[in-house]
Amino acid sequence: MNGETLVYKRPETLIKDKGFTFCPGCGHGVVLKIIAELIDEFGIRENTIAISSVGCSIFLEKFYELDVAGASHGRSPCVATGIKRSLPDKFVFTYQGDGDAATIGFNETIHTACRGEKITTICINNTTFGMTGGQASATTLVGQVTTTTPRGRKAELTGYPLRVAETVANCEGAAYVARVAISTPKYIKEAKKAIRKAFEMQIKGLGYSFVEVIAACPTNWHMTPVECIDYIENTVEKVHKLGVFKDITKGENI
C-alpha cells in the first residue's frame, strides 16, 4: 500500500520460495538467513564460494544461490583453503556444525586458524550431532542427555565439553574469533554484527575469522523451540560463554 516502506525482505541469496531442510525451530535456519542477508548487503553473492560440511549443515546448495563445494566430514576448512589459495579474490566461507568443526575436524580448524587462511568459518554449536539423531559431540554439556549419553553425560566417563572459540582465539593467525547465540532477537542482532565483522575481516584480507553460534536443536534437546530459548540462556551459555575472544582491529566488544 501507499506510504509504507519496506524494512525487511527475505534475502536474495536464499533460493526463492524454497524452504530449509531443518526441524521446526532449528537454529541453522536463522544463521543461514543472517549469512544470506550479509552476502546481499556486502553485494558479494556472485563472488562467493561456500563450503558445506557434513551434518545438518550439509545442504547449502539446496537453499543458497551460491557456488558450493562439498567436503569430507571435518575437512571443510581444507577445501576452503584450497579454493582461497587458488582464487584469492573470491569470498570463501565454511559452514559447519560442532560435530564437523569441533569434533572430527578440530585439528583442521586449529591449523587453518594458525596459518591465518583468509577464510571465514561459521560453526553452529548445538552441542550434539543433529543429523545422525542426537549423539554427544565434543561440545556436549556435562549432564546433557543424548542418544549416546542417555543418563546424561558423565565427565568421568566421557570427559568435558570443548571450548571451541576460546581455543581458536589462541591461534595467532586468527584475526577475529567470537561466540554468539541466536536464541533471542537481541542475540540475533548481536550475532549478525559479529558475523558481519568476521566477513569484513576476510574482505579486508586481515586473516582468519571464526564465529561460533550457539543454536537450538529442539528435536535432540527434547524441547519445543520456544523452550530452547531459555535453555540456551540458562544452561548452554554457562558453559559456552558468549563474547569476542579475539579482534585484531581492536578490543572493541560487540
Partner: protein
C-alpha cells in the same frame, strides 16, 4: 637436450612445476619427503601455493578445494599417508574433481619400513575408499618415465575430471638417474563450464558428493563408469618387450619390471623365449591387451614385491588362456634379476613337457 642427473623425488616435483601445478599440499613421510622439500623451496619463488598441511586428511582435501576451481593441484605421500586420503579420493571421484596424487610406496603393512615395496597396489587400483569408483593410476619404471607420466597425470586428471595417481616406490623416489625435462606437451583444458568461480552471470554450481534423492547417485555412478570405459580405451599405456614369440611372459610393473627386463634379457641369452608385459597404466587395467598377449604364449609369470596383488588382475585378464605363476617378496624385500631368472628357468622347463 643433454641429460642431467636427478633424484626421483625431486624430478617428480620439478615435472609437476613444469606441468603448471599451481598448488602443492603435502605432509612429510619417508621415502618421499624430498618432494615436499623441493616444492617448499621452489613454489613460493614462483608465486605458487605450497602448504605443509596438518595431515594427509587435510592435504588431499586442499587438493579438492583447488580442483573444484579447475586449478592444477597435487599432493604426495606414501602408503600410510595415502591410506588417510581414501575417503576424500572417493568423494573426488563422485564429484568429478581433478587432482594429482603421488604415492611413493614403502614396506607395509602398518608403519612397515622405509624400504621399497609394491604392497599398495590394491590400495591404489582397488581404492581404499568407499563405493564404486576408479582412480587413474600410472606406474613409472624409470625417473624419465616418472617425469613424462607426471605431465600426463595433470593433463588426464583435468581432461577427465578425475584423481590421477602416480604410483612410484622407494627406489624410484630415492635413486638418481640421468633425465631430460621436455616441455609440457599438453594444452590446458577449458574448465569454465564446470569449475566453481562464484555464480556471476550464470546459475550457481556445486561440486558435492552427497546425493540423497532417489536414483541420483545411481545416475552419477553409471556416468563415471562410462567415463572409465572411455579412459581405458583412449588412454591405455602398456610396455611390451619381446612378447611376440615368447613362450613365457613375465608381468610386472614399476621398478620390479625394470629388474625383470634384465632377467628376460638373460633368459633370451640362455636361449629361452621369454618376454615382458608391463602395464604402465594400472587402473583401468589393460585387460584386453593382456588377454590378447596371453593367448599367444604358454605361461605367464607375475613378479611383484608383495604377496600377489596385480596377480589377481593378471589372472582375471588371462582368463584361463594359459597358466599363471607367481614370484613375490614382501615386507620391503627385493628380488634380484638372478632370482627371477632362476624362477623363469624352472618354469620354462615345465613348458617343454606337454602334460
Amino acid at each position: 637436450m643433454t641429460k642431467v642427473l636427478w633424484k626421483g623425488n625431486q624430478a617428480i616435483a620439478q615435472a609437476a612445476i613444469n606441468a603448471g601445478c599451481q598448488c602443492y599440499f603435502g605432509y612429510p613421510i619417508t621415502p618421499q619427503s624430498e618432494i615436499g622439500e623441493y616444492m617448499g623451496d621452489k613454489m613460493p619463488e614462483l608465486g605458487r601455493t605450497f602448504i605443509t598441511a596438518e595431515s594427509e586428511l587435510a592435504s588431499i582435501s586442499m587438493v579438492i578445494g583447488a580442483g573444484t576451481t579447475g586449478t592444477k593441484a597435487m599432493t604426495s605421500s606414501s602408503s600410510c599417508g595415502i591410506a588417510l586420503m581414501q575417503e576424500a579420493i572417493s568423494a573426488m571421484c563422485c564429484a568429478e574433481v581433478p587432482g594429482v596424487i603421488v604415492s611413493v610406496m614403502r614396506g607395509g603393512p602398518g608403519l612397515g619400513n622405509i624400504a621399497s615395496a609394491q604392497g599398495d597396489y590394491f590400495q591404489a587400483v582397488r581404492g581404499g575408499g568407499n563405493g564404486d569408483y576408479k582412480i587413474i593410476v600410472y606406474s613409472p619404471a624409470t625417473i624419465q618415465e616418472a617425469i613424462d607420466l607426471m605431465y600426463r597425470a595433470f593433463h588426464v586428471s583435468m581432461k577427465y575430471r578425475n584423481p590421477v595417481m602416480l604410483l612410484a616406490d622407494g627406489i624410484l623416489g630415492q635413486m638418481m638417474e640421468p633425465v631430460e625435462f621436455g616441455k609440457y606437451p599438453y594444452i590446458d583444458e577449458d574448465v569454465s563450464k564446470w569449475a566453481l568461480s562464484g555464480a556471476k552471470g550464470r546459475a550457481p554450481r556445486n561440486l558435492v558428493s552427497l546425493h540423497m534423492p532417489d536414483g541420483e547417485l545411481e545416475k552419477i555412478s553409471d556416468k563415471i563408469f562410462e567415463k572409465y570405459k572411455i579412459i581405458s580405451e583412449k588412454e591405455m599405456i602398456v610396455d611390451k618387450f619381446m612378447t611376440d614369440d615368447a613362450e613365457l611372459i613375465v608381468t610386472a610393473f614399476g621398478t620390479t619390471a625394470r629388474i625383470a627386463k634384465s632377467a628376460v634379457k638373460k633368459a633370451r641369452k640362455a636361449g629361452m623365449k621369454v618376454g615382458l608385459f608391463r602395464p604402465v597404466m594400472l587402473s583401468p587395467f589393460p585387460e584386453k591387451e593382456l588377454y590378447e598377449t596371453a593367448k599367444s604364449t604358454q605361461m605367464i609369470l607375475d613378479i611383484e614385491l608383495n604377496q600377489g596383488q596385480m596377480l589377481l588382475d593378471v589372472k582375471a585378464s588371462v582368463f584361463g588362456a594359459c597358466p599363471v605363476e607367481f614370484l613375490g617378496r614382501s615386507g620391503g624385500g627385493m628380488l634380484t634379476d638372478t632370482q627371477m631368472l632362476e624362477k623363469i628357468t624352472t618354469l620354462y622347463k615345465k613348458i617343454g613337457v606337454k602334460v
